[in-house]
Symmetry: C2
Subunit: 419 residues, 2 copies
């Protein structure tokens, strides 16, 4: 598919993130108005609540865009999602007849504030990148036991904490927690010293289910994707995670990018999961390519210094797709809800430069990473900013995700002092 | 504290569950009306939405009882919870001056339907019973490694799935899942054959927090307690749980009792956690007794047969209190929300007859349990009903929890057939 040309001129820049092909869904506010739904187009945001109020855009009897979340649109289902996309393409295409009705409702992105794009029902995080699982397993359990016996059969996941998910730009406070060093006889309660990021993609579940679904049905339930940084306190995790998995190590924050890139926008970039070493059970069989070719990178920027790109990888490196993860998630009869968020798991590639966490990049702190300015990093230092970016590159256009940014601010001196 | 006598005569039965001392919070409906908030008193439910409409009871400017959940009351905070309790005791006490205004709004419990009493924000399940952890650890890892090294230091927990929590009386469908027997070379996708219950108490978090809280602050955040059955597919769990903990094994359903017994009602029954083998870190220090003396029992009833009481234990057997669990839950900065539900972990006692799961009672299926009618049980069979009961026994009165009941119905023949 070529670039869809828009009368919003900035959307036609082949290097821009938000061409007419993209139309990602966000929630924005301007100085004097309440947060509401919009889509990104070039360097503008189209105010869908205003278009709805003017009668130019109407999805349902009641308004659905005048609220600070996309859940109401999601709940209308995939046919409506497609109808919305079709309508917006008509309204924003070069030569659109309704340009005069639409143009007044473009808001410059530079002057808008972006909010959480949806209400998160529940958050599940997976462990579905083979390179990541192998790297972490090698560090924790040795090369022979790197992959757990179930790993090639099950998209391993755990339930995360929805209340901790924040939108890009939110500062992340270094957590306190219970830690115990290899040479300590008893644990201590202290600020985490091995605080890390995890480069992931988040799938946004758009429709509910109350019974097991196939991979094909699961794919159709996905509204779109966001960049996701699953902040992880490795020292807390190492001490707490046996036998029931990570808990407080992953509960400080998870940052997502502010724009939900729809499944429809990503359709031209579908690519297959890798060949299977062992056959998957039939309930995990894929009816077609279920991953996407999305180039990903991570910058780390110390305060006052230039950013260094510390990782470059691709979502196509995953072993399990979001559709497979969602299908597995429903096997037990677990009810899924519009607004559920599924983290892909850390997306590392085969080489050192493709690793999606500092744990892997610095090999547990043993091989500190050199930044552009000469600083070394084993884990995140106070006031470091971590920036995730993602882009699917098409024929003369780019589907960008916007940035997923978080700055780690120092731990509280006394976490129990009244604020 | 003695029995508080009520003009609702059935509430004065020393063996009854719902004296004036109790006043648990539920959501009920009658034939022709919407679900709304009520409290249990004797064999009646007091319709608080009606009392509020009549102006006899008023907690806030806007109505809070005319909705099918207690979250709005919870969010008003502990002072308001106490004011509500005080007001209800005045209205329902023997000799109350407003008896005539209140009496028309009593609804016979026998004719009412009970619903989920609150909207569950997120669900966390702990592993805080030492007898249970020791039993399970011995079965899975051997007696020498029964308790993980962190267990005496951390109230171990994992995030559960809020969407799967159902109210007492809801049938539970036996799940399908990925399982692998010890002698299998590859896993299979099949209905669980080792489906189990777990006897727990659930703490209902009533106020939000956005920073770490002390054990004392955590205790004040708890609105009340429910009985909780954390249904568990042991065969699915055994194959999936390494390294990130239980996932689909615990996602089919968790059943809670319909009445939230308030912290105030349980106050006379406080009892201390057991002596510590190793000192806890200061952030887990308890300012006073944080457990409760609540007698618990489990009945198992095959279809068409009489129930057998298969376990008798007490909440006082726990190693960590709900307040300690909640305090630990906030250490990382994890935001807590009104409506969060914390499962205690399985409440087993020291003897075989005190074990809170079939996994323990049948020692992994090796020692099947004989029921009253002669049937044997290693795990739950189709159409078995599991009934949990709880009671704190005071001076001439009983604080009952009502029953937490679930019947396990057969697995779907084909989980992917359109329903």
């Amino acid at each position: 598919m070529p670039l869809l040309r828009s009368w919003v001129v900035s959307a036609n820049d082949p290097a821009g993130s938000f061409p007419l092909n993209n139309l990602p869904c966000g929630v924005f506010s301007t100085d004097d108005e309440e947060p509401r739904c919009g889509v990104a187009i070039g360097d503008q945001i189209l105010d869908l609540a205003a278009l709805e109020q003017e009668g130019v855009l109407r999805l349902a009897d009641d308004p659905v865009f005048d609220v600070p979340f996309w859940n109401e649109v999601m709940e209308l289902g995939p046919q409506t999602w497609q109808a919305l996309r079709d309508r917006l393409i008509v309204l924003l295409s070069e030569g659109a007849t309704e340009r005069a009705e639409v143009a007044p409702h473009l808001v410059p992105m530079a002057g808008a504030r972006l909010h959480m794009p949806f209400l998160i029902a529940e958050y599940t995080d997976f462990y579905a990148g083979r390179h990541h699982a192998t790297n972490v397993g090698t560090m924790f359990r040795g090369a022979e036991n790197a992959l757990p016996p179930n790993w090639l059969h099950i998209p391993i996941g755990y339930n995360g904490r929805a209340s901790s998910v924040v939108v890009s730009g939110t500062d992340v406070r270094r957590p306190w927690g219970q830690v115990k060093g290899a040479n300590d006889t008893v644990p201590r309660f202290a600020p985490s010293r091995r605080f890390d990021f995890e480069l992931e993609l988040g799938a946004v579940v758009g429709t509910a289910s109350a019974r097991p679904v196939t991979v094909s049905e699961a794919d159709a339930m996905i509204f779109g994707y966001v960049l996701l940084n699953d902040w992880s306190a490795r020292d807390i995790q190492g001490w707490e995670y046996q036998p029931l998995g990570p808990f407080q190590a992953k509960a400080t924050a998870t940052t997502i990018s502010p724009w939900i890139v729809t499944r429809a926008a990503l359709e031209p970039f579908r690519t297959a999961t890798p060949p299977r070493e062992v056959a998957l059970l039939p309930y995990l069989a894929e009816p077609g390519p279920m991953l996407y070719d999305i180039a990903l990178e991570v910058d780390l920027q110390p305060e006052g210094a230039a950013p260094t790109t510390i990782s470059r990888t691709n979502y196509a490196e995953m072993y399990y797709s979001a559709a497979q993860q969602l299908a597995h998630h429903t096997t037990s009869g677990c009810p899924m809800t519009a607004g559920d968020l599924l983290g892909s798991g850390t997306i590392s590639g085969p080489e050192k430069a493709n690793r999606g966490s500092l744990l892997e990049l610095s090999w547990g702190g043993k091989e500190p990473l050199a930044l552009a300015g000469g600083d070394l990093r084993s884990f995140i230092e106070d006031n470091d900013t971590v920036i995730l970016r993602g882009a699917a590159r098409g024929d003369g256009y780019t589907i960008g995700f916007g940035e997923c940014v978080g700055k780690v601010i120092p731990a509280l001196t006394d976490p129990y002092a009244p604020s």
